[in-house]
Each structure stands twice: as C-alpha cells, then as structure tokens.
Amino acid sequence: MDYIDLEALGLKTNFTIVDWVIVILYLLGIVSVGVYIRRYVKNVTSFIVAGRSLKTYLAIATMIGTELGLVTVMYASQKGYTGGFAAFHIAFAAAIVTLMVGLTGFIVVPLRRMGVMTIPEFYEKRFGKGVRILGGIILAFSGILNMGMFLKAGSLFVMGVTHMTSPRDLKLIMTVLLGFVLLYTTLGGMVSVVVLDYIQFVVLSFGLLATSIIAIRNLGWHHIVDTVQQVQGEAGFNPFHGEGFGTSYVIWMFFMGLVSCAIWQTAVIRACSAESIKVVRKLYIWSSIGFMIRFLIPYFFGICALVYIFDHESLRNIFLPGGKTADSQTTLMAMPVLLSQILPAGLIGIISAGMLAAFMSTHDSYLLCWSSVLTQDVVAPCFKKELSSKTRLLLTRLFILTIGIFILIWGLWYDLGQDLWDYMAISGAIYFTGAIALLTCGLYWKRASKTGAYLALVCGFLAILGLKPIQRFCGFEQEIPTEIVGLTVIGLAIVGMILGSLIFPDRVTEKIEGSEIR
C-alpha cells in the first residue's frame, strides 16, 4: 500500500490529541454497552433476530445505522469524487426503489410472513434443502468477499484524517478495531448490534448533517457547482452522459437499489427481525430517506473533496495528476483529507469516532449475518439430527472469528483496481443476481422449479467475472464494465430459472409453508 505524506505537502490536520481521547472513550463506551447487553441473549433467535421484537423507530434506526457505515461513506464519497453531481442518481434510485418496496411489500413482506431468518431458509421452504445449501454457500462467499475491502477502506480513512503514514501503526489500529468488533459481536449478537446501530444512527445522522453545512459554508455552493462544471463538464451532472455514467450504469443502479434494500441479507434480516408486517412496510417507507441519504451526503463530501483538491495545487498534483483522476486507492483518501482540513478540532473527533464506530457496526452486522448464514443454511441442514441452540450459537461465534481473520488478510492483500463501489456491487452480484431470480420467481411464479433455481444460482456466480483481477486472470483483452457484466448475468439467471423450470418442472407442486404467494 502506498501512503501519501500529507504533512510533507504542508497540510496540517485538525485532528488533535483531544480528538484521539474522544475516539478512544467513544469506542470503549460502545464496546462496554455491547458486552453488557449480553445478559439479554437467551437463545439463537434473540442472538440473530433480536427475538423479533424490533418496533418501527428502532428498526429504522438500526437499518440506517447498519447501512450508513464508514465503508459506505468511503465508497460513496469516492463515487462523488469521480462522478460529480451525476452520482446523485444512485441515491435517487435507492430512494425510489426502497419506497416502492415499502409501498408494495415486494419480496420483504412475503419473506417476513413466512417467518424465515435468512434468504437460504426461504430457498429450502420453496425449492428444497440442496438449493438452500448451495444458496447459502454462494451467499456467504459473496458476502465475505464483499466485506473484504472494509478494513482497507477503514485504514485509508484513519490515514486521511490523522495524516498517519506508518503502515505498522495503521495495521495495529485496524487489528485492534477488528478485535473490538469480534468481542462484542460474538458476545451480544443481534441485540447488541441493534442498540449500537441506534447509537451510530444518532451520532452519524447529526454529524453528517453538521459536516454538510460546514462544507457548504467553507466552499460555497456556487463555487462547488462551477468547479465540477470546469473539471467534469456535463458528465459531472447528467448521469446519462456518455463520458460519465451512461444509461446502462443508471439501469444497473436501479437494480442495486432493489438489491440493497430487499435482497441483500443484512437488510432483509432487519425485515425478518421486525415485530409485524405493518412494521416491515413502515420500515421500508421511512428507510427510503435513509437509503437515499447514506449515499447522497457522502457523494456530496466527495464532490467537496474534488473542489478542495482542485483549489490546492499541491493536492491537485496527487489527486488529479495531469487533470485526470488518480488511482482508486488515492481517490478513496480524498474525502478524509477534506474532513481533516475543514472540520474543527473536537468535532472532527466526534465525527471520526462515529465513523469508526460505524465501521465496527457494519462489521458486526456483516459478521453476524454471514456467520449465521453459514451456521443455519450450510452446516445445520447437513445434519440429520437438529442441532441444539447451544451448538448453533457456538458455531456462529466460531464462524465470526474465522471470517474476521480472513478479512484481515484479504483487506491487506487484494489489489482493488476499480472504484470501491463497483467492487462492492460486483462482489455482491455473485449472490444477488441469482437471488433476484429465485426470490421473484419463487415468491410470485408457481411453476418455478428446483432445477430452475440451481441454474439461476450457477448463472449468478458468473458475476465474479466483473472483478478486474479476475478479468485480467482470464486474459480479457478489454476490460468489461461492471454494469455490463451485472446486467448480463441478471438476464442469464432469469432465463436459466425460466427455462429450467419449464423444461424440468418439480414433480409435486410445493406450496410455501405458512405463506400466501402474491
């Protein structure tokens, strides 16, 4: 990893010793809360879905708290930096799609009605045990790969804000943070995740709003607009412009909006944890604002970073060499550098503490999610005798530790080579391209069969070709854009599901247990 020495460029960070104290006290505080909450965890249901006792406001807070993590802020600000105001279309798409899911109950209401804990559990009820196990493996693989870059994003944030340059210190800090996450996730489960997500929601919501106001006051709205116009031209505003995102990317983002709120396991688990179907609908309707803002504000920070960098020649040479956008790792650091310059001491500590806690909060949600998928959907169905609640809890905790070690190694080793958001989208696509076909057809088409489900899952796995190192490994002469890979694979998965179901229908039509298909 190359490190930018910002102090050598004459830039001093506003992050002082006071801010370090704030960060340490804050992190210790939330870890203590997480550990204390352990006494409320009595069984696997309370560990994974908080006893299905989430009421509307808490469900909204925890949904937004999970999705508004440091990683989200990092990848979204990078997209704002590289795409300008045109990147706002992703936030727009997320809001519209989440609102539509809330109003119609598409996918999430039938899932909640069935009382499943994970999506592969639905696969079993609808298509059988084999589909559940394969689906669980693909989901966990995709999810763990997806969170593989979290530590790197977190480390770049710490570097950008504090202007640290020593790789050794940084690795140590990231390892300690991961240790904290593992501690309270393995002990507290979903109950502690829910409470900590609530704290995250409160701190980050107000922190991000305050930072937006400070950024506008510092740079000036008209100056921001003019600079984006100067650097990126029309492509910086019009998402359909050929030199910017383009139409296929916009369509891909609408799919991503649907996936993020209704198909991605970490969001669906919130729907499964909700007290009732009424709460699920309310949760999605209100969360549409959160799903929009979690992208919108960081995009704006990225745009402000672009403007700030453009105004300073020394930074311009690094972040915009020869007037072109720098490599992925450098552009990821643009937003933290902006924060280190415009936020006053004290406030930068609170924001950083919130961001780092959010980093831990996202980690804990994801760790809990993928480890419970591995336990409930891959290991448990392989045993003829039902595993006891105690064994499942132990297995879940063991998987949490194993995944934690994996992401520590992967984050430090993997060469990103593309915008973080595109990496996240395509690594997630390994799972969700197949899942879209299984969920929509499984819930709304009676003839969907087991063979069709297998075909859709296998087709979905082809999304792995969207990762740049995989494309290079396969010897592709030209890089294929992630949106083209993603949209093609979605099409293939749906065709696979339909053809497989029509040619090889199930012998006995299975009806989803305890649910009405609409």
């Binding site: 006792s53 909204i60 045109a86 609530y198 929601f201 919501s205 709003l209 505003f237 604002i289 929009m292």
Partner: protein, 56 residues
C-alpha cells in the same frame, strides 16, 4: 445542463431537510423502542425460565 444543476440542487437540499426531520423523530422514538425491547426480552427470558422450572 442547467436542468440537471437545478434538479440536483433541489434534490440535495430537500433531502437534507427531510433527513434532519427523520433523524430527530427516529432518535426520540428509537430510545423508547429500546426500553420496551429490553422489557419484552426480559419478560420472555423470565417466562422461558418458568417453563424450564415447571418441566423439571
């Protein structure tokens, strides 16, 4: 291009105001929800213990 500049400006400021309102309401409502969640989980735990005791 002016259309997009105006559209995104309106979209951004409207979203900030909406989110500000949501943040206040959810922060207050969420606090009370946490209290009731702990209460219901404690009751659930107590009733599970009662059942275990009766079975033994």
């Amino acid at each position: 291009m002016n259309f997009w500049i105006n559209f995104w400006s309106f979209f951004f400021y409207t979203s900030l105001v909406l989110f500000g309102g949501l943040a206040i309401v959810v922060s207050i409502g969420g606090f009370f929800n946490i209290r009731s969640m702990f209460k219901s989980m404690a009751e659930q735990g107590a009733s599970e213990e009662d059942v275990t005791e009766n079975n033994t």
